[in-house]
Structures are given as C-alpha cells and as structure tokens.
C-alpha cells in the first residue's frame, strides 16, 4: 500500500510512521474498541474476525501488505467493528491516529488508495460471508491457504490446526479431515505447525471459485491504479517537454 504512493507523499508519511514487530496471535483491536494506531503490514498479515456468542468467531477478512488495518478511521470513525488478530507474525509500520487523520486529509493519493482498499475489503468480506455459508471446509481451507500465501508472498507458513479451525469457523476435526485430503492429493504438506503449498495450481483447482473472484477484483483494481499512475507520469512528462 505504502509503496504505491507517490514518493513525496511516502516520504512525508515516513516522518510519522514507526516500525513495529507484530507477533502471532497479538490482538490489535477488540471489536467495538477504540482504534489508537493504524498499521501498514510489511510481511505480516492480520485477520478480521466477527465474534458471536462469546466463544465462536468467523474470519471475514485477511489483510496483508496490500492494505491497512484501521480502515474505519479513514471513514471518520475510530472504532473497529471487528477483532483484528495477527495471523502471521512480522513487521509493520504504524501511525498514531491523530497523525493519520492529518496525513489522510493532506494526501489525495493516500485517500484514493485507502478508499479503494476499503472497497476491496468490502468485496472480500461479502464474498467470504457467502463462501463460509455454503462451501465445504476443504474448498475453504484451500482458499484460505492461497489467500495467505498471496499476502505473505511465500509458499510456507506456520499455523496450528486449532487456529485454522477458528479462522474457518469449524471444529478441529473438520480441519484435520480437510488437511489430510489436501495432503493426500499432494497439494500441500503439513508438518509440526507448518504448512507448505506444493502444487499451487492444483490448490487453486481444489479451492472454491471465491478465491479467484476476489483475487481478480484486487488484480483489476491494482492494474487500473498502475495504469492511472502511468498516465499521470506521462502527462507530467508531456508537460515538462512543452
């Protein structure tokens, strides 16, 4: 997300950004709690969870380096509707919300990026909602693996089956069955809390269509944005030439 900003805006943000290390399982916000910082993940990724009945929760969104955690602040509300939990530990840049509000109001590019990302996340949430309702665990697990791998840009990640069960909103035994199915088909390997994707294309085929739907929407938005950057650059160049 930050890398997509014009260099001038990015440099200005760097003055108020602070690098932090986020650990697996760390809760950035509880649902309905006040947001004090926004986070831009580098190599970590964070789950948005909706809790029900005190002990169960459903993951409705997954955010990595393409986005920001704390989007409600961009909409003028400093309260998170979801619980934000670090899924994959790593580093992120964070900013106090007072600083964020100022920078947000001053940077047209940041505003555009964040509104676009809010829209994309909404699509992800809506798709996940329908997916969780209808699609079998093994398809959803394949989707989850792929989404995670896209966000950390690695085929290997650490996660316990317990945690995965929580993310998919199913019982642990459901995850075990689905995992061994995917393992038997040699699509992935699972050893001591670590998953490795062995056959990416095969895993895409094993996932429900929701993976591709959301990925394509993100890719299209990304493409459009890159294009508009190019146009701007060309326009600027033309102006300089004149």
């Amino acid at each position: 997300m930050l890398a997509g900003l014009p260099r001038k805006d990015y440099r200005k943000l760097l003055l108020v950004l602070e690098p932090v290390k986020l650990n697996f399982g760390q809760v950035l916000y509880e649902s309905q709690s006040r947001i004090r910082h926004v986070y831009f993940p580098n190599d970590c990724f964070v789950s948005m969870l909706t809790g029900v009945d005190g002990d169960r929760s459903a993951e409705v969104g997954l955010i990595g380096s393409e986005g920001m955690i704390g989007l409600p602040v961009a909409l003028g509300i400093a309260v998170s509707p979801f619980r934000a939990v670090v899924q994959g530990g790593g580093t992120a840049m964070r900013m106090k919300i007072a600083d964020f509000r100022r920078e947000f109001s001053e940077s047209v590019a940041l505003k555009r990026e964040l509104f676009l990302f809010t829209h994309l996340l909404m699509i992800q949430i809506a798709q996940t909602a329908a997916c969780n309702r209808f699609h079998p665990v093994s398809q959803r697990m394949a989707r989850w693996m792929l989404m995670t791998s896209d966000r950390i840009k690695s085929n290997e990640f650490r996660i316990t089956q317990e945690f995965l069960a929580l993310m998919l909103g199913v019982r642990r035994v459901g995850v075990s069955v689905a995992a061994s199915g995917l393992r038997e088909r040699k699509l992935m390997a699972y050893r001591r809390g670590s998953f490795t994707i062995l056959n990416h294309r095969g895993l895409v085929a094993a996932a429900c269509g929701c993976y591709k739907i959301v990925k394509d929407v993100y890719a299209r938005a990304q493409g459009k944005r890159d294009l508009s950057h190019q146009h701007r650059r060309i326009r600027t160049r033309n102006r300089t030439n004149e």
Binding site: V52, V60, G76, I125, C210
Partner: protein, 244 residues
C-alpha cells in the same frame, strides 16, 4: 450546538425520510440534489447488478433493499439490508462507480432516485454529506461482517427472527411482504427449513404467516427469539453518529 445536535435539528425540521439526505441543510439540498425524484419500487426489482456501473443511486424512504452476493452453485445470499438509514450505490462515496453485489427490492415502497453524476458532485461539495456517507459505509461493513458470522453459526429460527425485526425496523412496518422462497435465499437455507422455522415462531404467537406475507405480533418476544446479532447490528447503526 455541536454537529450532532445540528444534524438532529435538521432532521426534525425537514425530514425527507432518509437519514442521509436529512443531514443536509435545506438550501444545500435544493442546490445539490436538484435532479432527485421520488420513485415507487416494486418487489423483486433489481436496482444494481454486479459489476455494472451505477446509473442511479437510491435513498429508500419506506422500502427495504437487500444486498446479495452471487455465489457459485447456490442462489444469491442476502448479506445486508438497506432502508431509510442508507442508500443503494454507496461505493460512489469512495469514488467507485460499481459494486460486486446485486441490490434487490425486498419490500416495495418509495425511494428518492438520483443520477450518479450529480451525486458525485454533491459528495465532492458537501462535507456533511460526505461524513454521513462514510459513517454509513462503516456501519454497512459492520452489518455485513456480523451477518457473515450469523449466517454461519446461528440456527435458522433465530436468524429468521433477526431478519424479520431488521426488515421491520428498516421500513418502520410490522407487516412484511415476502415469500418463503425468497426468505430461503436470503437466509441461505432450504425452503423447508424456513417453513419449519416460521411455523415454530407462529405457534409461539410471535408472528402470523399469511400468503406472501408475515406479520409481527409480539415484537418483544421476537427479539428474545432472535440471536444477539439483531441487537449488535442495531448498536452499530446507533453508533454511526456517536464516535468521532
């Protein structure tokens, strides 16, 4: 008077019947919303198709619109309801001209309709409108997230109760026109599950089922029969104006 107080005062003064329009001062409304017109929406009308650029946006007055996510191998799933607190076409507030969801009229009634280009201009020019739309967007995301978990975990009967109450709140009515088939799609279950759940609620005297309609008889007990999600979503909307 603080801004919240002002918003309330305006609402009381003019009352278009839609909370988002009501944040505007009368003069601003006249100037920015010159082309807006009331339309009557019929049950089942599709206001927005996935991926198709918005021609119009709609501000419901006494109708209820369902937002649906198309999903492979199943009928579209209902993921949110929109009534007089909101609008159809909210991605425009973020500068985005289409949606990946379908919007379907679930309860007929009146809405204010406007072309999307003048709305973009109005959003650009009016800060109170912008703020109201952003807050509404936030609440809508919260609603969709909550319903995602609700649809996944809660029993059909509790979800049916929640759904009826939400629909009633959105349009301020107690008699809700809907078929069991439609309800099945909204709740993402088989039709027989809806028949069973509505039969149980009727037997307890909470609702009355007629041909193509359901009437709420005992709101309080229907609230108790609903899952917690009804109250949670209500709080999300109430907090739209409460957090700075």
């Amino acid at each position: 008077m603080n801004s919240r107080g002002r918003i309330r005062a305006h609402t009381a003064q003019q009352g278009h019947g839609n909370s988002l329009l009501d944040v505007l001062r009368h003069a601003d409304f006249q100037r920015l919303f010159a082309g807006i017109e009331p339309v009557t929406l019929k049950f089942g009308e599709v206001l927005q198709e996935p991926g198709v650029p918005f021609r119009h946006v709609y501000f419901p007055i006494d109708c209820v619109i369902s937002l649906l996510t198309p999903i492979e191998g199943h009928p579209d799933l209902g993921i949110a309801l929109i009534g007089r607190e909101g609008m159809v076409g909210i991605p425009l507030a973020l500068g985005i001209g289409s949606s990946s969801r379908r919007a379907l009229v679930q309860n007929p009634g009146t809405a204010m309709r406007m072309e999307s280009a003048p709305l973009r201009r109005a959003i650009f020019q009016s800060m109170p409108l912008r703020q109201a739309l952003y807050r509404y967007k936030h609440a809508l995301v919260g609603q969709i997230g909550q319903l995602a978990a609700c649809n996944q975990f809660h029993p059909v009967q509790a979800r049916l109760a929640r759904y009826l109450l939400m629909t009633a709140d959105h349009a301020n009515l107690t008699e809700i026109r809907l078929t069991q088939e439609f309800l099945a799609s909204m709740l993402g279950v088989e039709r027989s599950a809806v028949t069973h759940a509505s039969g149980a609620l009727e037997k307890d005297g909470l609702i009355k089922c007629g041909r193509g309609k359901m009437t709420i008889l005992d709101r309080k007990r229907l609230g108790a029969a609903s899952c917690e999600c009804y109250q949670i979503i209500k709080r999300i909307y109430a907090s739209m104006y409460a957090h700075g």
